[in-house]
Structures are given as structure tokens and as C-alpha cells.
Symmetry: C5
Subunit: 324 residues, 5 copies
């Protein structure tokens, strides 16, 4: 994939020209016109060219050089710098997180993708297919990108929910084992990470919706509120999954503890029953010369019968008390 | 059930005409007059007709197409879009949650029902029976709907409370078992879900009561405060049930743990007592040629007596220490 | 007890007349004069007469018809509606909660008692005994009622503290048992309920103290702050008791777990020691024809001595390791 | 100790006269002059004399009559009423809490000590030794008192930290026992109590620092910030100690649980090993007439060897699995 | 290391002179010029000279005399006093915390280092290498110092993360033991301490960024936001590590508990199986004269076969139930 994925000029909601990065500096600057640049893991030189073209703040560019920033929205005067964590469901439902940085201001939007994030070609295609909306300009593009990012979290959250439901089923059917513990551990860790990626978007959207935001027109504000609503929904789904997992683990532990105690109690009860014949038989296995019982004709059957009676009584007693 | 349940014009608190959806566009628009439309799982065409008639915002209509939105209140200029989760106690006290979307603005109120929600025919009947209040207009209808939705949560919350009280009784009478664990798990999950459905209504009511809300007249504000109060009461009941459940589970675990330890200790104590005759009898069961005790006339009764004494002493000792 | 407990007119801090409910409507309305009505579980008609006399808001009266409201303060214009949960220490220190509703506005104060609440005759007597303060009017009466309600929580909170201290003592003296578990469960539940009854009063007092409150004069504000202070003290005492209970339960569990493990370990150690003579004696109890040891003159004492030595060594070893 | 510890007039930072309580009423009232009265558990009459001299609010005096108030700051017009909980390290590092009430306003500061609190003679001496600061007047005296109170918490917090460190050491060296549980319980309770005594001072200082406070001059504000900073430090130390204690208890439980399981597993493993010779020897102890093995010359050594081999194999197996 | 590490005058971003402390008082005071003093554990006299030169507030200097202050930002008029906790990775990745106090105001910046903190020579070198930025004056120096302090936390946080990952691996590979418990305890304690050191910087940066801060120019504000962002990142990393540790400990306990129960169950099951031959053989080891089975030719093999069958059946049953 090339470093410069796309670089086009838009006027009144329509793509009017494609530029190279070097042409950016001398682009035509008319009101209602803006440039939309898409970069993918750019090198320092590429980023530096873009920085000079749009006069980006050095602190923002410094962050964009390195991935692994936390999600945030920073305003430098009229210019905005956004860091977004992106969700990606890969092959075999492999859940991955990538990162996108967005620079936006009067006349330009620049996206910088890092890692396992989906291409924004689809966003661009959708925008170009709706010129009536794209006419609104940079703020509509910004909305479209964040909307796309948040929409990608939905399937990932559902995928996490499926995994948690599997754990739940294992627990309720009492087939949870060692592997379930590791699975719960990994799921919890992943939910925490995804949550940390989405939560900041709620606040970002709130700040972009504020009336004093210079870049966002009043008629675009409801769109950012919609993004915020979807982000909250993702977070609530994640919280849901986490709570479900916690409750399932609690139930699982209760079952496990009950089962383990059951087993130990039953083994203990059997051992206690078996200790009776052992003890009594031991008595009559002693080699004293004078043991009158040994001489009795019905001594043996009497003792065996006594042992059986004791064992049966104990068995019934244990049974009644729920020990067996 | 038809998709269009009802569609009527009201003037000064009285129903003056019934319309078809197609007549909506050319309805008479006088001050003090409004249309109240009731839909049930409408198809796209129906919703689109209504959208055009009242000029509804596309983002709101997009949400209304699909159920499974989170409860929320969105304002688009003077127009309001409400998503409510509704409670329903079905046959055999089956607890279900449905969803209702409400569009309201100058001159119209539209309700869209999804899933297991109760019909609003009752609300309409009540409103029509009180023209002095219905005269207040759209805001009073809005209040009546939310009030009805919240009132339906009361029996459901009580039903959850009954279920929790059953668990509590099982625990305190020490008859809780494996099934109780699953029951607690399911109850907790359900309480969390119901809570998530009601909590947002508290904030919705607060926002509808605010002085700057264009749609709600000052004399209707106390009614929304009343709705808010009832919503808080439902939430407090749910929190109550949840806390009760948590405390009962803690007590149940304490009992279980005590009982299980009791049983193991008693079995262990009996095993220890029985190990004494086994060991002593084993000694005198040895086949050494020279074992003077075996020759003694009172050897056997002495040993048996000794064993008995030791066992009784141990029994008393264990008893005194509370081990038996 | 009659439904109308009291109904009197006050002027300049002195009781000047007693009225029947029917005379309320045509009562003299002078500045500095007000009516104070005391009701006890009134029927609908009584409440309706009062409502018409003072023009009470229908939503407030609706709440007053039924007990089991949550504690709250609602303002309808210049009129105030208060719901208070009241504490009552009955015979044998039986802890009970009742409910009082208060309507107050220019020229009137109405109290409506439900359930196990103390009579406000005492409050009335105290007010009438201090005309210099009662001269302040309705706000001073309002203060006196809330102050009385909160003061009644103090002995109840102390009673709960005593109960918790008993639990604490049982735990620290290691005599806690099954009954303690149930006791802790019930105490926790009760503390939660009492707490929920008092906490809202803190906010009520804050709202009554606000400068923009039309009914409360500046020189009465410190009195409401005093009520608030006492409510906070009750809540802090309850939190204290709850924390103490939680810590005691933790300590109790630690003790229990230690004790139970001690017992099992000791029983296990004794069983292990006794298994040695059993095993060795078993060997020499075998009936092989060729067993040279059995022929030896000192075979028997040697084996017995060996067994004793092993047992003593094991005993000492276990002792040293703290297993016995 | 007398009830009136001290009662002096200050002018321009210097003590100019000592008064009796009865002279207070007719004291000279010049700007820049104030009276500083120190009381110790005064009776009603004494307090009443002071109340009349400085026109103290009856609600504040009511609180001052009884100790056991919660820490708080109340303003009555220009007059301030402070309740402080005081820390005291007695003999043998005995940790005690007392109470001090402070009345302050234009021209006077009154301190009322209850219980185990240190005398403010030291504060007075320090103030009198720094006339340049004492010249600031009542607010500087107020600061000096609160500063002294907070400074006294430092050694107490360190004393609690030492106690917690002892617990920590016992836990990490695995010598924690029953007494440690009681110690942790008592420490936690004490930390909670001390914390509740200091936390309110943070807010008090904040309120005294506010620009609209009539009694505190701008140049004294940084001093109250300093007091606040020290109070926060005490609270953080206490939180630290509490967290340390919690973590140590967790670690201690983990150790205990591991140790107890170790012991039970080892005893169980030995019992299992010893059950083998018992069972096998039991077989050859049977008295059947036809048991060919008993006739074999090498039957006995073969069986003993077999038993030994099985026991050694089991021992090694258990060892390898970490069961022994 | 000397107490005065550095003391230089800067004009327009360039170092123009080096001073001794005694020359500070009579330094040239031009706009755009400032002095930057670096001290290392100064004695009282040194600090006093500096205090007089820059007119530092006595309360701030009092704090600077002693280390072990909590991180804070205090403003005295236009002058700022900062307490920072500093991170230091020593030899063999030894993690240490030091302390730095910063005084800053119009025309001066003074740093005071205590304990294991890195020298600020590097910061000074970097600033002097960028005169265009250093030209901004005291606020840029302040930023550079805080930035350096926060940057030093990054490797320390990563080091803690590595330690936590090691614990995690031990847990998931089920090799966690007693030493892991102590390690987790120490790591948790350290994370809490580091967290407490960084968290206050978030608020400090926020206060330095506020428009009404007299010392910080608008164009330097984004730099403080950058510092704040990095501080938040450090805190989030620490929270991450802590959550990871908690989850790993939970998983570890689950494993441990499962393993220990497995072992006890298996030992118990074997003991129960072995109790069968012991009991049966005991019966036939009794010495009754009349025991017909003993006379039967196939009595012995029949009994042995019966024992074997019972044992095999039990073994299979236990196996099937997962007890073995
Ligand atoms: Mg960052
Ligand atoms: Mg987070
Ligand atoms: Mg939504
Ligand atoms: Mg949602
Ligand atoms: Mg959430
Ligand atoms: Mg949720
Ligand atoms: Mg959701
Ligand atoms: Mg929720
Ligand atoms: Mg209510
Ligand atoms: Mg309620
Ligand atoms: Mg709640
Ligand atoms: Mg509640
Ligand atoms: Mg409630
Ligand atoms: Mg628990
Ligand atoms: Mg108080
Ligand atoms: Mg209190
Ligand atoms: Mg509270
Ligand atoms: Mg509290
Ligand atoms: Mg308290
Ligand atoms: Mg507290
Ligand atoms: Mg400090
Ligand atoms: Mg501190
Ligand atoms: Mg704190
Ligand atoms: Mg802290
Ligand atoms: Mg600290
Ligand atoms: Mg634990
Ligand atoms: Mg912290
Ligand atoms: Mg960060
Ligand atoms: Mg981070
Ligand atoms: Mg964090
Ligand atoms: Mg993080």
C-alpha cells in the first residue's frame, strides 16, 4: 500500500482535481473548496511536506510520527488534531486495534493510518456519492471518518459479546474448566482495552458539537451527536459484556465451590462408613487366647450383620443429611 | 395489529377528526390544534409518509427504523425525538422489555411501538377523558406517554422484588442450592437490564422540565417532575433489590461455607476416633509368637475397655471443642 | 386517634383560635397569621377539604393519599410539599419507620402522618412555649417539624450501633456463629433502609436554606443548616456502623477460616500419626508361614517400640511445624 | 485545670491586658484590638457569660455545650464557629482524639477544649513571640490554632504507619496469626476515625481562603492554603497506610491459604501412601485355609518388597508433582 | 555535586552571563531577560540568599527546606511554587523516586533537587540549543523542566509493565508460587506510589494552561497541554498495569484453587478406593472359629477377585465423574 493513498480537491461537494503532495503548497484556495489527503504510515519526509502545506503545529506532527498515542482531540487555534483508535475484525474474526490520526482545518482534512485499521476509501466513496452532504465541507468529512471508525466497533463488540456468551454457557452448563479461566482473563483484558479506545470519542464528539467550535457548522452538529450516541452504545455494550462476565464468573465459582465440596464430602462420608467394618473386624482379628465371641457358633454372622446394620444406618443418615 | 393504530386531530383538548396518513400532509394547521399518530412496527413506506408530513430529521427516522436503540432524548431545533424502553408483564408474570420511539413538535406527536410493549390506546382514552388537561396540547400528550411507560415499570420492579425475596428466604432457611445460584445470576442480569432502561428517563424528564425547553409550558413542568420522581422510585426499588440480593448471596455463602466445614470436620472427627480401635486392634492382631498380653485371661476385655475409654474421651473432647 | 389531630390559628407566635376543617375556607387571612393543621392517616374527603382550603396542587395531594413515597421536597410556586420518612423506637427498642407529608405555604402548614411515626403534639407544645421564635411564622414551624424528625433518628442510629457492637464483640471473642450471619444480614438491610430515609433530608435542608427560597426568612436559615448538620451526623453514624460491620465480618471470616483450617489440620495430623501403627501392625498381622521376625523373642516389643518412636517423632515434628 | 485558661486583650500584635470573664462585656473596643479567650470544658454559666460578651449565636453555643460534634465550619453573619477534632499522642504513644470548638469574629477569638486535646498555651506563646504576624489580628490567631491542630496529626499518622508496617512485616515473614487479624481490624477502624476527623479541615481551609470571607485578610490566605496542604498530606498518609494494610492483608491471606493447602495436601499424600501397606497387609492377614502365597518361602519378603516399591514410587510421584 | 549547580542570565533565548549567588541581588533586570538557577540539596544559607534575591514567599521556602512534600502547584501573586516527584531508573533498572522544587516568576526560575533525581543539565542544554523557543522566557523553561520530569516516568512505567507481564506469564503458565505473592504485593505498592507522584501533574498543567495565568503566554499553552497529555498517558499505563495485575491475580487464584481441589479430590478418591480392600480383608482376617468361607477352596481367589472388581468399578466411576 502506498504512503499517499489519496489526495484530492473538492468543490461544492464534488471532486474536482487530484494532486501530488508537492502540488499541495500551491493549491487553489477558494471558499467552499478543500483538500482531502489520505496517508498510510507515512515516512518523515512525506509528513513534513504535508505539515508545510497546511502549516500543522509541530506538537501535533510529533505525535503523528509515532503511533501508540492515546485517543484525544486537540485544538490549535482553528486547527484540529484527532487521535482515534480503530477497530478491525480480521480473518477468522481476529479482533485487532489500529490507530488513525486526523488533521483538519479550514480547507483541508488529512488522515494518517497506522496498523490494522480499515482503509478510508469506503468513506471517501460514500461522501463522493452524496454531494449534497459533502458540500458542507471539512466538518462533514470529519464526521464521516469518526462515524466509520465507531461503526467498525459494533461488530467487534458483538464478537466480544459472543465470546462472553460462550463463557456464560460453559458456566451455566457447569463445564467450565481451567481453559475458561484463561479465556475470561483474556476477554476482560481485551474489553478494557477496547473500552479505553472508544470512551474518549464520547467526549470528542461533545467538544466538536459545542456552539463555539469554529470548524463545525450548526447543521452538522446533530451528526456528531449521532456519532456520540453510537459511541455510547458501544461502551454500554462493552460494559454489559463485562458485567455479564463478572456475574458469570461469580456463578461459576459458586458452582465449582459447591461441586468440590460435594465431592470431598461424599468421599469423606464413604471413608467414614468404611472405617466402621475396618475397626470392628480389627477387633475380632486380634489374637487373644481368651475371646469368647470367637468360639460362638453364630459369632461371625452376628458380627457381619452388625457391621452391615451400622453401615446401612450410617448410609441412610448421611443420605438424609444430604452428605451422600 | 395494523401498522397505523390511530391518527386523529385534536383541538382544545377534544378529538375533532380522524385522518389517514395520506391526509396528514394537507391537515389543517391552527394554533391549539395537533395531530396524534400511533404506529406499530411500521414499514419504511409508512414511516417515510409520516416523516414528510411532519418534516422529521433523517437521523431520528434512521433510528426509528431499527429497534434496539438506547433510551435517549434528542432535540432537533423545536422537534423532539425520544427513545423509551418499555416494561411489560405478560402471561404468568413473564417479564418483557419493548421499545417505543416518540416524535413530538409543534402540532404533532407520533409514537412508534416495537416488540413487547403495551398499546397506548389506554393513554389516549385517559387523555380524551380529561379535555381540561389535554387542552394543554402536545406536551401533555408527551407527559401522558412517558408517565404510562414509567408506571408500567412499577409492577415489573415488584415482580423482581418478589423473586429476590424468594431467594432471600431460601438463603435464610438454608435451603439454597445449585438452582439458587443460576436464579441469582439471571435476576442480577435482568435487574441490570431494567435499570439501564429506566435510568435515562430521569435525565430526560430533567431536560424536558428545563425553562428553556420550547415545547413544554410552565404549568406542565410539575407533571414531568412527577414522572421523574416515579422513575427515581423505580430505580431505587431496583437498587434495593440488587443490594438485597448481594447481601443475601453473601449470607448464603457464609452459611454454605459454615455447613460444608461443619460436615467435613465431623466426618474427620469420626474418622479420627475410629482410627484408634483400628490401630490398637491391629497391634494385637500381629502374629508374634511371644506376646504376653495375648495369654492373659483378661487381656481381651482390658484392650476392648481401653479402646472404649479412649473413644469416649475423644468423643467428649471433640464435642466440647465443637468439632462434633 | 382522630384523623384531625389539631387545627389552630396562630398570630404573632400565639395560638388565637381553634378551627374545624370546614371553617378553614373562611379563616381570617391577616399578615403574620397562619393555620397549622395536624392530620393522621386522613381519608379522601378530609384531605380534599384541606386541599380546597389551601389550594394544594393535585399532584402533591395524589402523593399524600398513599404512603410509601420516597423522601423529597417539591416546590409548586410558593408552596412546598415535603415527604419525610420518620424514625420511631417502639417498645423493647423495636425500630420502626413511618412517613410524614408536609404541605406548607403562605398562611398554612399541614402535616399528614402515616404508620409508626411519633405525634407532633410535642413539637406544637414546644413551639407554643417559645412565642418569640414561633412569631417567625410558617418557616419556623417547618423547621421545628424537620428538626423533630431528625432528632428521632439519633436514638435509632445509636440502637443500630449497639447491635453492631454486639456483633463486633461476638466476632472478636470468636463466638460468632450461624445466628451472627443472619443478624449481620438483617442489620445491613436495616442500615441501608434508614440511610435511604435520612440522606435526602441533607439536600432538602440545603434547598430550604437557599437565598431564593420565598418561604424561609434569612434569620431562620441557620436553623435549617443546623437540621442539615444533624442529618449529616446521623448519616455519618450509619456509615460508621456499616463500615464497622463490614470490617468485623471480614475479621470474623478470617478467624473462622483460620479455626476451621486448624481443626482439619489437627485431625489430619492425628489420622496420619495413627496410620503408622495400623500399617506396621498390619504387616506383622500377615499369615505367611515364613516370617522370621515373628519367631524372635523380642520381636514384639521391638515393633511396638519402633511404632512408638515413629509416632513420637511425628508428633514432635508436627508440633514444631505448628500442625498440631 | 481551670475552666478559664486564659483571657487577654491584644493590640497591634502585643498582649496589653488580662481580663476576667466578667470584665469582657465592658472591654475597650478599638480597631486593631481583639480578645483571645481560652476555655477548658466550661460549665453552662461560664459559656453563657462569654456568649453574652461576644453575642454568640445560640445554635453555635448549643453545639459547644456538648462535645461529640462532627468537624465543621459555620458562618453566622461575620462570625465563625469551628468544630475541630484534635489528635493527641499520649504516654506510651497512646493515640487519642479530643475536640476543640472555636468562636471567632471581629474583636474576639474563643477556644473551647474538650477531652484529650493538647493545650493551646504553646500556640499563644508562639503568636506572642511573633508580634509582626500577630498584628494581622483574629485571622492569624485562627490560622495558628488550626495549624497547631493539623501539625499534631502528623506524629499520630506516623504512629499508625509504624503499626501498619509491623503488620506488613509479620505478613511478609509469614508469622501473621490470630492476633494480627484483630490488630488489622482495630487499625482499620482507627484510620477511618482519624480520617473522618481530618478530611473536613480541607474544606474548612478552602472556605476560609475564599475572597469573600469577611474575616480573613488577603495576606493571610496563603497561610490557610498551607494548612490545607498539610491536612491533605495527613489524609494521603492515612490513605497510604490503609491501602498498604489492605494489600498486606490480601498477601497474608494468599500465604495462609497456600500454607494451609500445602499442609492438608502433604498429610493427605502421606495418608494415601500409608493406605497401601495397610490394604496389602490386610489381604495377607486374611485367614483363608487355601492361600498359596502364604506357603511360599519368599512370600513374605516379596510382599514387603512390593509394598516398599509401591510406597517409594508413590513418594517420588507425589514429590515430582509437588504434592509432598 | 555542588549545591549551586548552575546560575546564568538569559536574554532573548541566549545565555549572556554566569553569576554567583551573591551577585543575584544586583543582577540587571531588563524585560526579556531572566535568571535560571539550579540548586542541589542546598543548605539553609544558600536557600536564604536565593529567597532574598527573588523575594520568595516564606511558606514556599519552608517547604523547600524539607523534602517529602506532596506534588503541588502554589501561586503567590505572580510567583509560582512547584513541587514535583521525579522518576529515576538507576543501575540494573532500579526504580527510584526523587523530588524537585521549582520557584518561578517574572525574571527567574529556580530548581531545587532532592534525592534520586536526574540532573537538569540536559534540559538546560536542550533549551540553549533552541534559542528561538527559549526566547519565550521563564514559561518555556518551566515547561521544559516539567516535560523532562514526565518523560522520565515513561521508562519507569514500562519497567513496571515488564514486571507485571512476568507475573502474568507465571500465572498463565501456572508456575506462580509464594514468591509471586510477595512480588505482586510490592508491585502494587510501587504502582500506587508512582501514580500518586504523577496524577497531580495533570492538574498542575491544567492550571498553568488557564488563560488567566499571568506567567504563561498563549503560545506556550499547547506545550503545557502536551505535558498534560503525556502525564495522562503515564497514568493510563500505570492503571493498565494495575488492572492487568489484578486480573492476573484473580486468574492465578482460580488456578490455584482448582489445582488444590484437584489434588485433594484425587488423594481422597484413592484413599476411598484403598479403604475397600482394607475393610473386606479385615473381615476375613477375623479369628472366628466358624467362618465357612475360610474353608472354601476358592474362597481366597473369590475375595481377591471381588476386591479387584470393586476397586476397578470405583476407579472407572471416579474417572468418569472427573474425580480422578
Ligand atoms: Mg499523547
Ligand atoms: Mg479508561
Ligand atoms: Mg443510539
Ligand atoms: Mg446503547
Ligand atoms: Mg459506561
Ligand atoms: Mg450498560
Ligand atoms: Mg446498550
Ligand atoms: Mg446504567
Ligand atoms: Mg415519588
Ligand atoms: Mg422508591
Ligand atoms: Mg440509584
Ligand atoms: Mg436506594
Ligand atoms: Mg426507595
Ligand atoms: Mg465474597
Ligand atoms: Mg453536627
Ligand atoms: Mg457523626
Ligand atoms: Mg453518605
Ligand atoms: Mg459518611
Ligand atoms: Mg462521624
Ligand atoms: Mg468519611
Ligand atoms: Mg504539603
Ligand atoms: Mg502528601
Ligand atoms: Mg484522600
Ligand atoms: Mg494517596
Ligand atoms: Mg502521602
Ligand atoms: Mg481476597
Ligand atoms: Mg491517586
Ligand atoms: Mg497519554
Ligand atoms: Mg496510554
Ligand atoms: Mg486512568
Ligand atoms: Mg491505559
Amino acid at each position: 500500500m502506498p504512503m499517499v493513498v489519496n489526495c484530492a480537491v473538492y468543490e461544492n461537494g464534488r471532486r474536482v482535481a487530484d494532486l501530488t503532495l508537492d502540488e499541495l503548497k500551491d493549491r487553489p484556495r477558494k471558499p467552499g473548496s478543500f483538500v482531502w489527503v489520505g496517508l498510510h504510515e507515512p515516512d518523515e519526509e512525506t509528513l513534513s511536506t504535508v505539515q508545510q502545506a497546511f502549516n500543522l503545529h509541530p506538537l501535533a506532527v510529533e505525535d503523528a510520527h509515532r503511533a501508540h498515542q492515546r485517543p484525544k482531540l486537540e485544538q490549535y487555534g482553528d486547527d484540529i488534531f484527532l487521535v482515534l483508535r480503530t477497530a478491525h475484525l480480521g480473518k477468522d474474526n481476529k479482533r485487532e486495534l489500529g490507530e488513525t490520526h486526523v488533521f483538519a482545518g479550514r480547507g483541508y482534512v488529512v488522515t494518517v493510518r497506522h496498523g490494522a485499521s480499515s482503509s478510508y476509501a469506503l468513506v471517501r466513496a460514500r461522501c463522493e456519492a452524496a454531494p449534497a452532504l459533502l458540500k458542507h465541507g471539512e466538518d462533514y468529512v470529519l464526521y464521516s471518518i469518526i462515524d466509520f471508525v465507531i461503526d467498525n466497533y459494533m461488530p467487534l463488540a458483538e464478537c466480544l459479546e459472543d465470546a462472553a456468551t460462550q463463557v456464560e454457557e460453559q458456566v451455566l452448563s457447569q463445564t467450565a474448566g481451567r481453559e475458561t479461566v484463561a479465556q475470561v482473563y483474556r476477554l476482560k483484558k481485551e474489553i478494557m482495552e477496547v473500552r479505553r479506545s472508544v470512551v474518549p470519542v464520547i467526549d470528542m464528539a461533545a467538544r466538536l458539537m459545542r456552539p463555539d467550535n469554529p470548524l463545525v457548522d450548526p447543521n452538522i452538529r446533530p451528526y456528531f451527536r449521532d456519532v456520540q450516541d453510537h459511541a455510547i452504545r458501544v461502551v454500554e455494550n462493552l460494559d454489559n459484556v463485562r458485567d455479564l462476565l463478572t456475574a458469570a464468573v461469580d456463578a461459576g465459582f459458586a458452582y465449582l465451590s459447591m461441586t468440590q465440596n460435594d465431592v470431598m464430602r461424599r468421599l469423606g462420608a464413604w471413608a467414614a462408613i468404611l472405617a466402621v467394618p475396618t475397626a470392628i473386624a480389627g477387633i475380632y482379628g486380634m489374637n487373644f487366647e481368651v475371646m469368647p465371641e470367637l468360639r460362638m457358633t453364630f459369632g461371625y454372622p452376628t458380627v457381619v450383620a452388625t457391621i452391615l446394620v451400622i453401615c446401612v444406618v450410617l448410609y441412610r443418615m448421611f443420605r438424609k443429611r444430604g452428605w451422600l
